[in-house]
Amino acid sequence: MRKPVLLIIPAYNEEQVIRGTLDDVLAFQQQEPFFDVIVVNDGSRDSTKQIIEQYVPRIYTVHLPHNLGIGGAVQTGYQYAHRHQYEYAVQFDADGQHVIEELKKMYDVIEKTKSDMVIGSRFKEKTAYKGAVSRRVGIAFFTYFIYLFTGKKIMDPTSGFRIKNRRVIEAFAYDYPSDYPEPEVIVTGQRKGWRIDEISVEMRPRQGGSSSIHSWKTVYYMMKVSLAVVKEWSK
């Protein structure tokens, strides 16, 4: 029997942290059994696959034949959600940044407001999150860049911790950006007339591994996301 919510955990070489994340998620699932869990193994070359297989049948797994990148991995989760008719889907980071207890809050809000997408935000209200100044400046840039084009102010446009309804799941299963998708899909949503809300959630620093956005990739990230926002807006 499928639950109404599918928690999608994309994982690429996350052997250091995936066990802790899954233990937390499954412990919370015992208390609040309103969601299923799927881990999309994005062609990991370490022991991530072996670790997540130990959790079957408590979780569902999909093993991609090779690394497709974050967009491809998350989209696989949406395709799974679409095929199995889940009401809602949530992306959840394997690196321990997202706090599973906040999922209930997001689920309650989307049920109550009937929004198409609810974004879990680090900056909507003051939280314990302490990110690097450069990262905060980058996020603020995208907040106002998106606002400039869409008139919608999202304080944490790079947050991947979002709950989406069937309408959005279907759209993402069909088409989803290959990398750094979060800011871009806000513009997609505005263009398509989706109702997007943002609520404050707690997040932690990553618990292991390393960020995919570093050194020269920061420049690429800023350029790629800015161009993608303009592209989406001009469609």
Binding site: V62, L64, T76, Q79, Y80
Partner: protein, 112 residues
């Protein structure tokens, strides 16, 4: 051997390579047309090099061969652009295929 004979030999050699690759299925018929056309244009310029001089004069290019280089570079860039567009399309199809295979495999395991 002068440069004209050499160019004709190269042109014929290009035709031969294209034909061999089309026959073996390594090159699509659609793509082969582009190479045949390019090779023919090169041959025409060799045969009637006064055409290049005329075109250079019309465009105020003092040294005609430099115009040939410019045209060649533009054609190369357009060709690269076309390849990138086709590569992007293939990449998208490849991602969908990999996802479908992975999902079917996952569902097969779930049913066991």
């Amino acid at each position: 051997m002068n440069i004209y004979i050499f160019s004709v030999i190269i042109m014929l050699f290009v035709y031969l390579i294209i034909w061999k690759n089309v026959k073996q299925g390594k090159l699509g018929v659609r793509d082969s047309i582009l190479w045949i056309v390019l090779s023919t244009i090169m041959g025409l310029i060799v045969w009637q090099y006064s055409w290049l001089d005329w075109l250079a004069a019309q465009l105020n290019v003092a040294y005609a061969p430099s115009l040939l280089f410019l045209i060649a570079i533009i054609v190369c860039l357009l060709f690269i652009l076309d390849l990138m567009i086709r590569l992007n399309d293939l990449q998208k199809k490849h991602v969908k295929l990999a996802q479908t295979v992975a999902l079917l495999e996952s569902e097969r395991k779930e049913q066991q």
